[in-house]
């Protein structure tokens, strides 16, 4: 009788520890999801409002003084920047939906949990490809490339470039949060089995 009682007590303690761990895991998931949503939303907004105009002196005819022409720099001028903004907008919208779903679900439905993880992984792929595209074109803007005769533009549009770099950094942090959202449940499940 005494042995049976002890075994039941041990089982109870283990169950309570398991529930505690699940609650901590759930809270960690929600915080990460909120972070991912906030960072990708901030990245999308920072690049969306990145709109600078610089007055550039342009020589139209020899012998005449150069004419000051206002030249704008906008995110939608380059397809890589459009892709970057759309990727971050999709990720932040998904982040908001998945946050609500995760709060409602609380690990009850396995199917919904699996769907959220698959979509998290797709967000990782989408965001990292967007970051890669934006960074590659950003590097070209900063340094230019003599082999293909693409001149640097960030010496003129320095404010635009700095704001864009900040946006890429925010997006990278958001992508890292989504990466952790994919990895943490996996590591938890592998440890449990």
């Amino acid at each position: 009788m005494e042995g049976q009682g002890k075994a039941m007590m041990m089982e109870g303690v283990e169950n309570s520890k398991g529930r505690e761990k699940a609650a901590v895991g759930g809270a960690c998931d929600l915080v990460l999801r909120l972070l991912a949503l906030a960072l990708t939303l901030a990245a999308a907004i920072v690049v969306g409002v990145d709109n600078h105009t610089k007055v550039v002196p342009i020589k139209i005819l020899d012998g005449l003084p150069p004419v000051n022409v206002p030249v704008p720099a906008k995110w939608h001028y380059l397809s890589a920047f459009v892709y970057f903004l759309v990727a971050n907008a999709i990720a932040s919208t998904y982040g908001a939906f998945s946050l609500v779903l995760a709060i409602i679900n609380k690990g009850k439905s396995r199917g919904l949990g699996s769907l959220i993880t698959v979509l998290d992984a797709l967000m990782v792929a989408l965001l990292f490809s967007g970051n890669g595209a934006a960074s590659a074109v950003g590097v070209l803007g900063y340094y230019g490339n003599s082999h293909v005769q693409w001149k640097k533009v960030c010496n003129v549009f320095d404010n635009f470039c700095h704001q864009f770099a900040a946006s890429v950094l925010l997006s990278l942090l958001g992508s890292a949060a989504f990466l952790l959202l994919v990895l943490l449940p996996l590591l938890r499940l592998q440890r449990r089995n």
Copy 2:
């Protein structure tokens, strides 16, 4: 006695089903890993040997006929292409190592299994950022951009561009294989719990 025998038989059948499922999962993991290794290696090789030279008529002085100058196109002229090749080379090397480790481990060590999954996820991030960078610069090469006055170059180096596009496609398929390598064990574990 009869009831006990039936219960033991049911447990035996369930265990055997579980072992069968684990074996199928393990084989699926190995095939995907081999595919990921082969595709990223092929992508790295295709871009590494992508080296075309085109004879371009260049006018040096007015009044003189244009001089035919051989202009080479190489992958290491653009930092995005270097990043793309390095990402694919790292992923294929890791693919080979992880294939050997997965064969030796056969799901025995949980720690090693978790480490492989974390590294698989990092490969997804690395490869997708490389694909994004290469595609963004590739699009600029194909179409140019009038806003920043970057002229298209693929009208001259068409063979180089076609070979590069094939390499990006191979790398995308390899990245998808790594993405599945991250997702499949997760979905298996979530279904089991």
